[in-house]
């Protein structure tokens, strides 16, 4: 674009380059990181609004954060644990399931919310410009408060079962970071797709359910035959959940090469999601 600067007579009387140069969309990659950095304040405002509004006019309020994983944990403990006698890597069933449900619930909620953001903000998107990436980003970030609240319950459970936290617990945030990146990468792609094809919304519950059974939430990954492990590792959440459980309790599979496959897939989905989102961004306000 710099080459075209002198094609207008007006240029002679302007001192600097234009603040905004508005041209038709071109190319695949025009991610403006500077712009993103400049609008970080808006990102925090969006997260802050999300948190303020989320449990307005609910009787139980923030209790809902805990109810979902705890209720699922109880159901899993009874059906998969007590009745089906699923192996649990030597952990009490409630701890085994809750350790997995904590990152999983975060991931599922973040992904679902991120996917909806663009449609939900249709009005704003057609009335004012800001980097649209902020919307799915804020949805993914605001879910982190839920993780903090759920962690309190987990600590309580570990105390109850006399499970001392291992030093590896310091690695837990690393696995959480992978979950955040996955939710963001996939959320970016799906939210852009959702803006144009509303089919996405109908496919979401199914996708989430399928994904959960493809991750070691209800069962340990040791149940997966060794020669299929590599394929299993392509699911980033498999590495995240198994790793999170291992980091906190020391039970289960320690991360192996299989985590690197997961991490690589996370990176791929993040870059791919961002590229696809940026590609669609220009058309969003016209086609939403």
């Amino acid at each position: 674009m710099q080459g075209e600067v002198h094609d207008l007579a007006t240029e002679a009387i302007q001192e600097g380059a234009a603040t905004f140069d508005i041209v038709p969309p071109r190319g695949w990659f025009d991610l403006d990181l500077r712009e993103l950095w400049a609008s970080r304040e808006l990102l925090w405002f969006l997260v802050w609004r999300d948190l303020k509004v989320r449990y307005k006019q609910t009787a139980i309020g923030v209790g809902w954060v805990v109810i979902q994983p705890v209720a699922t944990m109880l159901i899993f403990s009874v059906f998969f644990g007590r009745l089906a006698r699923m192996p649990s890597d030597g952990l009490p069933y409630p701890v085994f399931y809750y350790c997995a449900l904590l990152p999983w619930t975060y991931f599922a909620t973040a992904l679902t919310n991120a996917t909806q953001t663009i449609i939900e903000h249709e009005r704003v998107i057609t009335k004012v410009y800001f980097p649209r990436v902020l919307l799915p980003m804020s949805a993914v970030l605001s879910g982190l408060i839920d993780v903090a609240v759920s962690m309190v319950i987990l600590v309580g459970m570990m105390l109850y079962y006399h499970l001392a936290p291992k030093p590896t617990a310091l690695l837990a945030p690393l696995f959480l970071l992978l979950a955040i990146a996955t939710a963001l990468g996939v959320g970016l792609a799906l939210s852009a797709l959702n803006a144009i094809y509303r089919d996405v919304r109908h496919a979401m519950p199914f996708l989430i359910q399928f994904w959960m059974f493809a991750s070691p939430v209800a069962y340990p990954s040791s149940l997966v035959p060794a020669h299929w492990r590599w394929l299993y590792g392509l699911n980033p959440m498999a590495g995240v959940i198994e790793g999170f459980r291992w980091a906190l309790t020391g039970h289960g599979q320690p991360p192996s090469g299989f985590l690197f496959v997961s991490a690589f897939c996370v990176l791929l989905s993040l870059v791919g999601g961002l590229l696809y989102f940026k590609k669609m961004e220009g058309a969003m306000s016209d086609r939403i």
């Binding site: 600097g16 508005i22 038709p24 304040e41 609004r49 057609t126 004012v128 410009y129 939403i288």
Partner: protein
Amino acid sequence: MKKVAIAIDGIGKRYRIGRRERYLALRDVLANAAKAPLRLLRGRPQNGEDEDDHIWALKDIQLEIGQGEILGMVGRNGAGKTTLLKVLTRITKPTSGRARIWGRVGSLLEVGTGFHPELSGRDNIFMSGSILGMKKTEIKRRFDEIVDFSGIEKFLDTPAKHYSSGMYTRLGFAVAAHLETEVLLVDEVLAVGDLEFQKKCLGKMKEVSSGGRTVILVSHQMNQIRRLCDKVLWMESGQVRRCGPTAEVVGAYEAAFGSGETVRQGGSGGKKVKARFLSWKIVEPRAELPNLLTTLGPFTVRFRAEINQPVRLGVHGVEINDAAGQLVWGNAAYNLTLRPGIHEFEHRIEGLPLKPGPYSWRVTLFDEFERIDMWDCLPELMIGTKPQGHPRDEWAGFLNVGSQLSIHSNGTGPTA
């Protein structure tokens, strides 16, 4: 020589017809994809839609706006005014051409952008300000001014969902009016709200541009444009019809309406229709503008129509709708026999005690078989009477009726 703030060079924006509103279902795309190989075989490019499938909402716009200028934009609905603003704010990308802007851009395409009904007024000031591009420190610094301007200090901690539409508008505009950007783009948002507040907003806009800021303002209200703008851009069918000094362009624009040259947009499409409404105006009492009503008393409005074939057992309907499209009044005359020629339908109306603001006429003509014509009249009817009800907009309601209070009492007790 003056510095340029906005340089628009050949900007065009093309939409696929029908694509703008409708969203796609995946199966349409799959069906198209299935057909794509066939199309390739036939030697047509995959995206080679015919030009007929598209409309150019903007075409080859050339324009330069100097720093500190206020440019008014006029034109009928669908002329491309809002699309141009959307391109300049980067909400939508142009299909061709280039536009450059020197300075930060603030936009006001609706009032209360980014408001959330569950948040309090205070929180919404921060939310809206931030989404419009203000920094937190800027919002903090101007917070008191914003609250002052909106006049809702008592309700700052009330959730916005409990606000009246008047309060909502005030707060929304108050935030936007304190944007500190070098360029401000304003769509027709001042038509809402009571006249008193409108005046305050106009004053603020003047102030904004005298501070060296560049403003583009879209309005249907010519008196607003006259009062505020240095230059006016007249858009028609996505192109610049005329651009120049305010008096000149506004004069030409009004003349076009008054003379009946292009009073009604989108002609009959070439084919001869049975009848067509052409223009309308208020003939008595005369106001500054032919579409401005300044009296609460009786007035006469005239609709001109061209009748090409005789009409038997005709029906002529007239109605008034408010800005939200709600029917406020209607009437009709039956059993009309009309010969070909130009007809003037004059309605003597006893008075319209309606809250000041924009309304629209809808006139219709039926013969014994079908509806021959319907016209949502443009420009719209502006009611500019003096408010008679409660001074606060949200307590005044939608009727503009004066009242007097006298208190009759048989009380005998002490007064205090």
